[in-house]
């Protein structure tokens, strides 16, 4: 089964990468963009979708600083 895991900085944690992107946008003429957050996307195939949350907790995300969402099936 295909799955996608979206990982992003937890709410309230300063994301300097997002800030840098946000600050660059007006120079390119894109005004009015705010609250930019940069995360990462992990695509994978697995035989055991039930183990995905544990896999995320233990490796793909650091739960202290990151939130994650798992998409499986057609959505992935």
């Amino acid at each position: 089964m295909k799955a996608r895991v979206l990982i992003r900085p937890k709410e309230g944690i300063l994301d300097p990468q997002g800030k840098a992107v946000e600050r660059a946008l007006p120079a390119l003429g894109f005004d009015g963009v705010s609250a930019v957050r940069v995360g990462r996307l992990v695509e994978l195939e697995t035989d055991d979708a039930d183990s995905l949350p544990e896999l995320c907790e233990k490796l793909l995300a650091n739960p202290l600083i990151e939130d994650y969402e798992i998409e499986t099936g057609d959505a992935a």
Binding site: L14, Q17, N62, L64, I65
Partner: protein
């Protein structure tokens, strides 16, 4: 004489300097990341660098190496473990230290000499220092912004687990509460972002870093029993 073991991962780059610093105050040998043998080792150094390319997150892959399994057992038995820079990141990822390291606030790699203040000298790593001492030690990192939730920070401070802070005006990365180094609740595992192994000779600007290694040499924690015995 204290016998140091310095862990070497693919991508480590400060293990030679760490070995040199340890050798100035005791005996030292390298421990390859696939080895699990810490026999005869009194203190472990997890050095700086970019273990396993720092893929995913700094330190995230290294924590699963065979050597780190042995280090976790060594630490659980009370053995002293010092993580420097990437080693600090690895120990946080492994859950041996509280908190996490995030990308620097300024998004730039910082490489400079900084002033540190000893906040708590009760750990074996600080035996040669006193509370309030100032140390001049270099930093060089991209992912050094220490973070933990506020409640946890309060707990760490009241338990004396904040060992080192950046002196006022010296915080190079946006670390919360100017924290540069922390230890675990038992006091036998410590991590810091600055590089004491690069500050062991006045010729290179400062020998303040040697005091951390000398501390372990004068007051090694009780040597853990061999695992499985």
């Amino acid at each position: 004489m204290t016998r140091f073991g310095v862990i070497q991962f693919p991508g480590s780059c400060d293990e030679r300097d760490a070995l040199h610093a340890c050798g100035m105050v005791g005996e030292a040998r390298m421990v390859w990341h696939e080895d699990t043998d810490l026999d005869g080792v009194d203190a472990v150094i997890v050095p700086g660098g970019f273990s396993y390319g720092d893929y995913l997150r700094a330190g995230a892959i290294a924590r699963f190496s065979p050597a780190m399994g042995a280090v976790a057992e060594f630490a659980a038995a009370g053995g002293p473990v010092l993580g420097i820079c990437n080693g600090f990141q690895v120990l946080c990822e492994a859950g041996l230290l509280p908190g996490a390291l995030l990308p620097n606030e300024g998004l730039r790699f910082v490489c400079r000499q900084v002033e540190l203040v000893v906040d708590d000298a009760a750990t074996p790593f600080m035996a040669e220092c006193e509370q309030g001492d100032r140390l001049s030690i270099p930093v060089k990192h991209m992912t050094g912004r220490y973070f933990a939730p506020d409640e946890q920070l309060d707990e760490l401070e009241s338990a004396g687990q904040v060992v080192l802070r950046y002196a006022p005006g010296h915080n190079p990365n946006g670390s919360v509460r100017d924290i540069a180094g922390v230890c675990n609740a038992a006091g036998n595992v410590m991590g810091l972002m600055p590089h004491p192994e690069h500050a062991v000779d006045p010729l290179t600007g400062s020998a303040d870093g040697l005091r951390l290694f000398a501390s372990l040499a004068v007051s090694p924690a009780p040597r853990p029993e061999p695992v499985g015995s």
